[in-house]
Symmetry: C2
Subunit: 114 residues, 2 copies
């Protein structure tokens, strides 16, 4: 996929970063892993592999610094953030964003820093 | 920073993912951490903090799956990949990409899958 800026083509069409940071139990910020993100990452990886979604990587990330919204994921190059709580949420993100090229609108996290 | 697609503004102007995956010594693929990426990540975080570069996150990532080029980093939303070996390389990426909005051209990794 060429870019419009003179940069090389994207290496991954979709690069999905799943926060799997884990803080100790009882930590005031909590953490995505403590809220189940590792299981959902595993599910997302397995589903994308089963569906043979090309040029897409489901990547484990440490803290994305949006813990208050977690468990969360960000998809680049779009820079769209989602909160996902269960396998149905993962399925919606895969279908609507990765396959259809739209957005799983009800799961999107507001990016307003206001 | 608004996008042209109807998506929300980007949450991070630059989201920098540094591969800090570590495989056991002697593993045939090697790993970015074994090649010093954690130290360079720490240096990059510290320098960006000292320089107060806004809306930029230096993020620890696990395997970015481009181990043969490592230690490596990818910067989104541009999707530009760099190999960095030392602090001077980090300084070049910060100055040319994050601050000047250009590219540290000599450090860029070819994205051609051909």
């Amino acid at each position: 996929m060429p870019t419009s800026t003179g940069d090389p083509p994207l290496y991954f069409r979709h690069h999905v970063f799943v926060c799997c940071n884990r803080r100790p139990d009882g930590h005031q910020r909590g953490s995505c892993a403590a809220k189940g993100s590792e299981r959902l990452r595993d599910y997302m990886k397995a589903r994308c592999k089963e569906m043979a979604i090309a040029e897409t990587r489901i990547n484990t990330s440490l803290c994305l610094d949006r813990c208050e919204h977690g468990p969360c994921v960000v998809i680049y190059p779009e820079g769209v953030w989602y909160r996902f709580e269960n396998e149905a949420d993962v399925d919606a993100i895969i279908q609507k964003h990765l396959l259809d090229g739209g957005r799983a609108a009800t799961l999107m996290i507001d990016n307003d820093r206001g």
